[in-house]
Amino acid sequence: MKRVGIDIGGTFTDLVWYDEETSTLDRLKVLTSADQPDRSFIAALDQAGLLEDSQISLLLHATTLVTNLLIQRRGSSVGLLTTTGFRDLLAIQNSVRPNPFNYVEWNKRPALIPRELRLEIDERLDHLGNVLRPLDEAQVEEAARRLAELEVEGVAVCFLHSFVNPAHERRAGEILAEILAGVPISLSCDVDPTMREYERTSTTVINSYVQKALHGYVDALEDKLPLDVRFMHSGGGIIPASTAKALPVMLARSGPAAGVLAGVFLADQGERKDFITFDMGGTSCDVALIRDGAPEMTDSIDVDWNIPARTLSIDVQSVGAGGGSIAWIDPGGALMVGPQSSGSKPGPACYGAGGTEPTVTDANLCLGLIAENLLGGRMALSRAAAEEVLERLGAQLGQTAVDVSRAIFRIVNMNMALAIRQITVEKGIDPRDFDLVSFGGAGGQHAAPVAAELGIQRVLFAPQASTFSALGLLTADLTISHAQALFGRFEEIDLETLRTMMRTVGETSVRNLECDVEGASDARLSALLDLRYAGQVHHVSVPFDPDADDHAAVFERFEDAHETLYGTRLGDPAELVNVRMIARRHLPGITVENGSHANGGEPAAPRWVELERAEVPVVGREAFEAGKSMDGPVLIDEVDSTHYVPSGWAVSLGQGGAILAEHAA
């Protein structure tokens, strides 16, 4: 049987497939059709000869569909029901500006739902879930009819304190479903039953906003395909299409998650388990942390400024630093790089497609890091065009094209190093304990200098760097996590109450993984408790074993975690915030036969690299596969990327087919 992963990004659709009989892996890349991603999906399968293949056991998909709907504000017209008094919560938001000193120019991001579609319902619970005012069902009916008239394509419901007592939301949902037959309803008690009304409303609204488009997309795929598609969610797990349709907010960061999972796969291939993934493409660089083979997670992401989605996600930090990032001079005369990008059209000046702004790729060409032709000679780069735009920029600073290229290189590296600091140093984690795993089209040219900036000693250049991300799809498990608020002094919470709640939430998690997948194990559950010192606002998640743990054991675990994260152990009483139940169904792993990852690069004439002020040898990947090791500086050319190993680094074959560069110090 075969397992197929399809990763649709903004520019390319990557397809990888694994043949279980032969333990072989194949890959393919096609251009993405931005308006009709389902076509890209089918086209990629077709080109790979897999469209009619009856041997496919699993079809896995990572998509930027939801991300793009939110960025481009192309979601559906949906309604919102709130508790009386709260229709404007979605518009008032959190009221923080990105730059506190830029008051005059700031334009607040509009709510995803206009005021006319935000309706209020008389009902009220207190913070313990007691009914202060019963649900006015007639008002719900009236609201449903009003929304029907306005032809909404979805309805979100978020009442105050519904995470303690969902009865009013559930009843409102039933009434809505009767009157608005066929319109998907998102209840906050299903989507995100945790405390804080703005974040919960926002998450529920996002779910509703993207739901219709996702339904359409899944239906279009299912029409054209003989088998079910499974989706990768932001947390790096696989879910059935039915769950993706019910909870599409889970797909908000589906794309970047796959790349981190590929890093996890690489960790499984050898002794090294602590990685920082470094995925640098054309417009951005995504970095994430893998500790002991598991990615670091976050329970909330922002889909726009102050518009949060509370959905468990791999903590991917993204910076506007890629090959296409544009270099410019700020009003104070300082050189800046990004976040604006030339994109694929017109692209860097050296592409000769009309780009007139100097980019990172232009600088790298000028520095000699990349060759003047790419893709095995199919794409020629114009060094003259790059130098021309760089000279123009340099003239403003009194510098030569080479000097300004060197500066661009260092500044973009610093920007990426700062992103890595955010996911490490700022959380009390020392980046020097990690290996940097480089992939994406531009990663190889920058990984070693970025590592050096952070004191990281080892860099792994992933095989087939430009499609490496998609590999993560084939290695993921079916897994999902659901959270439920349970608020109170931890030592006062009865463990039986806790276990009862865990059972209910656990059942939801298991149910949301139900689907027929050959070889998938039964669901196993594990629990996390979100705890904080009473009075604090931010919590720490710690594992909880309902059969073995008592209050004291959990409290100690919490204090340990707090001390590790923040350096303080306060001994104050703890407060429970949420219970999280994670269900996991293991899928059989993939084992790739040790074959060559050689990727079109051939030994070529040495290139002059300005950063080394020397002629630097150029080799292909196969040199290391044959057992060779070398000292930097050396350039490793592949058909779609180049890896730069500076002097002071030694290079050899590493785990999982990656090339390892180690700092000599």
Binding site: D88, Y103, V104, H161, D330, P331, G332, V537
Partner: protein, 592 residues
Amino acid sequence: MTAAPTTPAERSDVNDDLTIEIMRRYLISTVDEMVRTTTRTAYSTVFSEALDFTCALFDTNARMIAFAAGLPVHAGALGDMVQDVLEKFGDDFRPGDVVLHNDPYAGGTHQGDVGAVRPMYFEGSLVGFAVNRGHWADVGGMTAGGWGGAATHVIQEALIMPGVKVYRAGEVDREIRDFVLRNVRMPKFAWGDLQAQIASAITAERRIAHLCERYGVDAVIEAGQRAIDYSRDRFHKQMSVIPDGTYTAEDAMENDGQSTEPRPIKLTITKTGTDLTVDFTGSSPQVRGPINATRADTNAAVYTALINIIDPEMPINSGCLDAVEIVAPLGSIVNAVYPAPVFAGLADTTDRIYESVFLALADVVPERVTAGTYSSGNCTTGSGFTEAGDEFVWYSFGPGGCGARSWADGNSGEWHAMASCKNESAEIWENRYPLRVVDYRFRPDSAGPGRWRGGFGHVKALELTEDTSLAATIDRNVHPPFGLADGMAGACNGLTLEIDGVEQDFCTRFGTISPSKFSNIKVPKGSIYRIYAGGGGGYGAPEERPPELVAADVRAGLVTPDAARTHYKVAVDPATLELLDDETDKLRRAAA
């Protein structure tokens, strides 16, 4: 100051310009790191939720090198505090010292904002100071939280900490700690938040040490100098957006809580080349009520306005902050001396000052200012004891309607220029305090009409479930946010209390002198306390606003059909809310 020795190898690439430039940027990111450390570890919601604190790095000469996203009202006000700490302690610093400071007459804003100043060392050499100033939930005084609208003496307001070492060489001074904590309500929060402030300063010291290790102390100091030069040069260059000339404005604080008399704020801006002076001569003498601004408050407000106008994206430090001369007469409402109470000076008088700068320059840089904004902290507190005997103090402050621009509507439910704090959750409040949030909606017709309308204000209504003592220090309840260029004023801020179905203002019900500046008003449980945030002023004549935009606001329920007709000369069918083109034409022709 002596530099730590560095190896020749390290020194070799240090003098290169690019390395210094890269270090300059690392210094700025260091402060971002301080902010995140504070947020994650703080105790009170004022810190961790509302983000009412600010971090910065200073050099050994008390010059600010780097500042991060925080409250503008704090940024411009930090330098004088560090200066005061240096004057007080001279070279009596050791690694691990922490100085507490909140003296309003010596570089402080109001006493609620407590500064923690911690020296940074590398291999025994002092390399600078990490500073974190934040709003403690309570610092003692006659009113919980400090917002005593009826205060007439600074000593009533809160405990003053005139630069005292609470840590010496890393060891807590138990006497100072116990003394401070014995004089504040809810000491656990104060101590928890101070720990977060210190944690952020330790983060900064580690980060700076890392830079020193790699590049040497000299290079780090040079990078600090570079940061200051960069911002000064950029400020001077960008200053040309303001034409040379003299500009004046006058506004007023509507009352001080002790009388109903407005208190004028006058300013004259003189700009010649890169010389810029803001002179407050002619402003009111300091007053009995708590609306006096400290020197630091006034500086902060002037800088905030000018940075918005000149170049809002520039890195903030002494380079730009010192580029302006501010003349603030001693003993006036913009530079108070003992014993003038100052608590509301920070939250409201600074707003009046920044808006006066906007007003003065509105004709010459119309695209770089806004019309009047709700511009108050809308700061109000409630305190008391629950039935179970636990003491509670809540502190409410928040956004409102912002002024329109010459090119866009004002933002709704957003902070004014001096602050940018996160709104707190009703669900969290109801779990912590004896109250319920029963209304949180925009106020129809609160936005000042104009070609571009102001932002809408909203109401926050609190149903109190225990007897509660209320205090407030709010301005713009009588004088509304101004319109510009024929735009109309926005709605005022307001406070009311509803008991048994009767909603009244505080003058009417309790006989307070001011409707919005008072202390210790006891109200029974079951009362509904409504805090109305004002709307922003409009820009340009309302009858020039495209009718379809007016109709859209009517359909959203934010502008009433009556207001559309009266102010905008736009007719909307009251039943269908559709725009009536012919009638609108008629109305507009008649108005022209």
